[in-house]
């Protein structure tokens, strides 16, 4: 171990804080849009999962639904896993080992951008679905359902736990940049996926695989959707509306948003100087990470429940029913937070991937590429894109919440019932912008 901490070893320099003008402009835009939507938007629910979206062009459907296409994607996923395991098992414990970049950059961040553009990427390439298929074939079970029915009340809770395990390792565990830690994390993850898949079939991956849940959730903001089996092109809002409501969805969203916010926060001067002067820096970081996730979940739950409800809706179901609407806010903030990291470290990872064993080889022909710092060299542009991403996410979130509110809440509570959630969303967006500014 060469002693370089991960965030630096992989990321190098971090983004400059965004300017006050940008923060104010972004926050003003978010607030104005929020009330504009409330005042002017449609009064009857607009999205219907059974009819929304246009069928994708025939040629595209033929390709995407072709068994050969699925097989190719699956093989790609298996190859990627194999490559990762090879570098993880036999590579050197050095930050030029591509395992770190493949794990913390391509998997964690690249997957979000890929899913936003292409749809359910992890579901398509997940090597663990392939293993489940094989195991179920051997045991004679149906791969879709496995040997036992996946308990519906577990929902996304295991995925939330898995996502927390990832962010904990990335942000609050001192050995994040040691090969041994990454090996153990991947081994435990793979073991859970293998056993879960063998027992519960694909239902386990759909509900409990942290990366599949994350990727599929983000894919609901892409233009690619499924109506039954039909591949459709939808507006992201219609697509978002079709997000299945499962137990633990609020926890998933809270972990994603809370941890990203903590990642910004821990670089703020106030926190950095406090932690470094403390006797127990690790404990402080761990508590703060947990507190951020819990705070997001609690504030969001309160914001959705503080409304009058009709007889047909239980109040405690509301956070789950509204959880999809906070996804764009979370994704907008994640895009803002990670954009330059993906740009710079993503390139570095592609270069390192040519040399998995750190012996100077050029297996993929990328070893002699050099990293372009174009985005980093245009800090004003970068800052504007970041604020635009946050504000766009906010707009989509507010519209999605409005549409769900008029579908769920009784007429007389529709306006007042939306207000607490609207304020919650403004708080999340403004909080995110503040962290981009202050940290």
């Amino acid at each position: 171990m060469d002693g370089v901490t991960l965030a630096h070893g992989i990321g190098g320099a971090k983004d400059l804080p965004i300017s006050t003008e940008l923060v104010v402009a972004g926050a003003v835009a978010a607030i104005t849009v929020s009330f504009t939507v409330l005042a002017l938007a449609w009064r009857t629910p607009r999205y219907d999962d059974a009819t929304s979206g246009r069928p994708a062009p025939g040629w595209l459907r033929r390709i995407v639904d072709a068994p050969a296409y699925r097989l190719v994607l699956r093989a790609f996923g298996i190859a990627l896993l194999g490559y990762t395991l090879w570098a993880a098992a036999l590579g050197k414990d050095s930050l030029i080992n591509p395992v770190f970049g493949m794990f913390y950059v391509l998997l964690w961040v690249g997957l979000v951008f890929a899913s936003l553009l292409l749809g359910r990427v992890w579901r398509a390439i997940s090597p663990f679905r392939a293993v489940t298929y094989g195991l179920c074939r051997l045991s004679g079970a149906d791969p879709a359902t496995g040997l036992f029915r996946y308990p519906a009340r577990w929902g996304h809770w295991p995925a939330a736990a898995g996502l927390f395990a990832f962010v904990w390792m990335e942000l609050a565990f001192p050995g994040a940049d040691e090969l041994g830690s990454v090996r153990v994390w991947i081994a435990v993850y793979a073991a859970v996926m293998l056993v879960g898949g063998a027992l519960f079939g694909y239902a386990f991956h759909e509900n409990a695989d942290p990366f599949e849940v994350y990727s599929t959730l983000v894919a609901h903001l892409s233009v690619w959707g499924r109506r039954g089996d039909l591949l459709v092109v939808r507006s992201p809002l219609a697509n978002l509306h079709s997000t299945p409501v499962r137990p633990g969805l609020v926890a998933v969203v809270s972990v994603l948003f809370g941890s990203t916010a903590f990642d910004s926060f821990k670089d703020s001067t106030a926190w950095l100087t406090r932690v470094q002067s403390s006797e127990h820096p690790l404990l402080l970081d761990n508590l703060a990470l947990l507190a951020f996730c819990l705070l997001v979940g609690t504030v969001f739950s309160l914001g959705t429940m503080a409304t009058g409800v009709g007889k047909d809706v239980r109040r405690r179901d509301l956070p789950g029913l509204f959880a999809h609407s906070v996804v764009p806010i979370v994704v907008g903030y994640i895009v803002a937070h990670y954009l330059s990291f993906l740009f710079v470290s993503g390139q570095a990872t592609l270069i390192q991937m040519s040399d998995p064993l750190s012996n100077g080889s050029n297996l993929l022909g990328t070893a002699d590429w050099s990293v372009s710092y174009w985005l980093v060299l245009h800090p004003s542009l970068l800052a504007s894109i970041k604020v635009l991403a946050v504000v766009t996410g906010h707009v989509l979130g507010v519209v999605a919440a409005h549409d769900r509110a008029i579908a769920l809440l009784p007429k007389r509570h529709q306006l007042t019932g939306q207000l607490p959630l609207l304020f919650t969303m403004i708080a999340f967006t403004a909080g995110g912008l503040y962290l981009l500014f202050a940290a």
Binding site: L16, P17, Q276, S384
Partner: protein, 118 residues
């Protein structure tokens, strides 16, 4: 109809804020060095994570007083590091790309300052 009106309003707001954003200026670089005083004593270091503003390519002088020799890592792109000896010494670096750059003592596992290079 209603939805079209909503979207028109939303777009108007976004365009409005984008124009607001357009007018952030840059400061031109200075060649006067920025001085950062660092003290190592009894296994501890000051400062502990303060921000120091600098321009790209502006010299940054670390004036170090230390009771034992050590190494400082600068997490710029590319990374830089320099050794200092016991006693007083000055070490000059420059950073050529904008960003927030951690300057660390790995030995003590501490961020000494964060350079805000713009």
């Amino acid at each position: 109809m209603r939805s079209r009106r909503t979207w028109a309003a939303v777009v108007a707001v976004l365009v409005g804020s984008a124009t607001l954003v357009g007018c952030s200026g840059d400061d031109s670089g200075s060649s006067e060095p920025v001085v950062v005083e660092v003290t190592f004593a009894d296994g501890d270091v000051t400062p502990k994570g303060e921000r120091v503003e600098a321009s790209t390519d502006q010299p940054i002088d670390f004036e170090i007083t230390a009771d034992e020799p050590g190494t400082i890592h600068v997490h710029s792109v590319p990374e830089q590091e320099f050794d200092y000896g016991a006693g007083s010494s000055t070490h000059e670096i420059t950073v050529d790309k904008p960003g927030l750059v951690d300057v660390e003592s790995h030995h003590l596992d501490q961020v000494i300052v964060q350079l805000e290079v713009s």
